[in-house]
């Protein structure tokens, strides 16, 4: 059997990939290119199709239609064991009846390679598990099992390594360590990593490129900072962190600005931060970009503002999270870092919330949709808080 890893690998391309289970479409006409050697994250809530996508790349699921291309070769029809692709499974799937050494050697042995001892030792050293070879998986901690799963896949020098929620079973502290560790190993081996996760922080920490998936489609794809700072859709704006989205109507451009009217107030956003500039839009501002002052005259020049009343203040240590009820009844979120500057605002205080227009963004809105100011699901917000 010749494995592809001797030849230059090339990019991983998914072309019009679709998977239906009965009437349910798990993955819907997905096309994307994952450059060779990159660390790519597929981010989404459960059931969004990210794991199905991964399983189709691995060969564990047959696509209903579409192609999986590695370089120029379509591998969509190959059985899993014919693909130069390996997987780190969710909860690892280590073989319980084999010791660590045999787990790691499994792939090499199946390909008829005889003297595997050195390679296994080197791989265990890479994941810092020297001396553990004779143990059984059940005798290792979660973090150690995770590293065995990684070693077992990496030893085969796959062209693409797939990671299915690899850190999901670890506790928070270990997860942080492993994030750094995974990133280090990826840089060291230079293999394309495709990482599926529902944890936005995990995706943003490790990946060069993040694709946010929703309902079988990719909502947005880009560098983590770009996604966060300038989301493309309301879904991304509220799945990745949290946003205050005000329902408004855009009235076209004036110079370098797009003009918006929302709840009777006029705002503007730099044209470069407007996904649309006409028709129904959301005007978005991240809570940490929203600053609270007591009087309108304290608003810095060039900032835009709305007035309101503080209805809730949660002190969470590094910051205080305020809810500010506007005149039209929506509650905006504002995070204020506890940097020692300025005091706490009391409940019921009349405040003015202001922001720099360069931090705002305009997103397309379905007409009829109202303000969205709460995060989707219960994802912990990114940024100052976490």
């Amino acid at each position: 059997m010749t494995m592809g890893h001797e030849t230059p690998a090339g990019d991983l391309r998914l072309a019009n990939l679709t998977k239906r289970f009965g009437v349910f479409t798990a993955v819907d006409d997905l096309s994307l290119t994952i450059p060779q050697g990159s660390f790519f994250a597929l981010l989404g809530a459960s059931g969004c199709g990210k794991t199905t996508t991964l399983r189709m790349i691995a060969g564990l699921e047959e696509p209903t239609s579409g192609q999986v291309l590695l370089g120029d070769r379509d591998i969509a029809g190959l059985r899993p064991y014919k693909r130069p692709v390996n997987t780190v499974f969710q909860s690892y799937a280590l073989f319980p009846h084999l010791d660590i050494h045999e787990n790691v050697a499994f792939g090499l042995r199946r390909r008829g390679i005889r003297n595997v001892g050195d390679q296994v030792e080197r791989m265990l050293a890479l994941v810092q598990l020297e001396g553990y070879g004779r143990r059984r998986p059940a005798q290792l901690s979660g973090g150690q099992q995770q590293r065995v799963a990684l070693a077992r896949a990496l030893i085969n020098h796959p062209q693409v390594l797939l990671l299915d929620e690899p850190l999901g079973a670890l506790d928070l502290k270990l997860r942080r360590q492993m994030q750094i560790e995974l990133k280090r190993i990826q840089t060291e081996v230079g293999i394309t990593f495709v990482h599926v996760t529902h944890d936005q922080e995990e995706a943003m920490t490790m990946a060069d490129t993040v694709a946010v998936m929703n309902a079988g489609r990719i909502e947005q794809l880009g560098r983590p900072a770009d996604l966060y700072e300038y989301p493309a859709t309301a879904f991304v704006a509220n799945f990745l962190g949290q946003s205050n989205l005000l329902a408004g109507e855009a009235a076209g451009r004036s110079g370098d600005d797009a003009l918006v009217t929302a709840h009777g107030l006029r705002f503007s956003v730099p044209a470069g931060r407007a996904r649309v500039d006409r028709g129904p839009v959301f005007l978005g501002v991240r809570p940490e970009k929203l600053h609270l002052v007591e009087r309108p005259e304290q608003v810095p020049a060039g900032h835009q503002h709305v007035g309101g009343v503080v209805t809730d203040a949660s002190y969470v240590g590094v910051s205080t999270q305020y809810l500010v009820r506007t005149a039209w009844g929506s509650e905006l979120s504002a995070f204020s870092a506890n940097s020692g500057v300025g005091g706490q605002l009391p409940l019921g205080a009349a405040v003015v919330a202001h922001w720099d227009p360069r931090h705002a963004f305009l997103l397309p809105r379905e007409s009829g949709e109202d303000d969205q100011t709460t995060p989707l699901l219960d994802q912990p917000p990114v940024g100052v808080l976490s």
Partner: protein, 278 residues
């Protein structure tokens, strides 16, 4: 005091019940060293080792034991194969008529042995099949299959399918995956099922009684001897069976425990937390 009693009475009652359950075995073991006063006496008379030194003094009995083992082995092999195949189909595949198959497997376990024995007899007589060794084997396979299916099914259903996916992902073909992953992981279930099948077959009396013709298995021998007088060697066989089974159980649990302990102690504990330095 009342509290102490309230906490302990359940355990006390349990131990009494266990005593009730163990009493006959102690008696069997004791009687294996007995020289009975007469053929029909069941009382302890005089201590002797003769029964153990000459277990085959009544050669009929030893023939019956050997016949039971032969039947047990054949029935075990056949029923384990049939039952394991069915368990794989039930756990691993979708097919039409699942409810019917489940019923077919469940009913023999819920039907009195008496009814299964008499109905097979009725069939063999109607079909003109002479009864003997092979009709016993057929009957034993029939009632063992269900127990094999249930035992293997439980093991198979508890197995993580991702282990097989992981193997395929690591370049193992379908056959290699079955051979290296599925089979070793299901094997304990299959072995347990085979042991269960053997013990069911070896000990069966009712169904055998209706389908044996003139063939005599060990339980049939004991049944017949109960009318004529029981040779004390029967108790030797009973005690030996018990001791062998107990040793098997003891050895398997000891092996499990030793493996666990050895694995925990063996490797030189590497740096306790290799990662924390980074």
């Amino acid at each position: 005091m009342r509290r102490w009693l309230a906490d302990r009475w359940v355990m006390g009652a349990a131990l009494l019940v266990l005593g009730y359950l163990s009493l006959p075995i102690l008696v069997v073991a004791g009687l294996s060293f007995n020289r009975p006063s007469s053929r029909l006496s069941y009382d302890f008379n005089e201590f002797t080792l003769d029964n153990w030194t000459q277990p085959c003094a009544t050669s009929d009995m030893c023939d019956a034991v050997i016949r039971s083992m032969e039947i047990g082995l054949i029935a075990t092999v056949v029923s384990t194969i049939l039952g394991t195949l069915m368990a794989f189909a039930l756990v691993r595949h979708g097919f039409r008529g699942r409810a019917g198959i489940n019923g077919l497997i469940f009913l023999p376990m819920a039907t009195p042995e008496l009814v299964m024995g008499t109905s097979l007899l009725a069939l063999f007589v109607a079909a003109g099949v002479p009864q003997g060794f092979w009709t016993i084997v057929i009957a034993h396979v029939m009632f063992c299959v269900s127990f094999v299916v249930v035992t293997v099914k439980a093991r198979l259903a508890g197995m993580d399918r991702r282990l097989e996916e992981a193997a395929m992902d690591l370049y193992a073909s379908e056959w290699q995956t079955f051979r290296r992953i599925t089979l070793p992981l299901v094997l304990p279930g299959i072995v347990a099922a085979a042991l269960l099948a053997f013990s069911l077959s070896f000990d069966d009396f009712i169904i055998t009684n209706f389908n044996a013709g003139t063939t005599v298995t060990f339980p049939m021998y004991v049944w017949g001897a109960a009318q004529r007088g029981i040779p004390p060697q029967v108790n030797v066989i009973g005690t030996a069976m018990f001791v062998i089974a107990l040793l098997l159980v003891g050895a398997s649990s000891l092996r499990g425990r030793r493996a666990r302990r050895a694995a925990l102690a063996a490797p030189v504990a590497p740096r306790p937390s290799a990662m924390s330095g980074s």
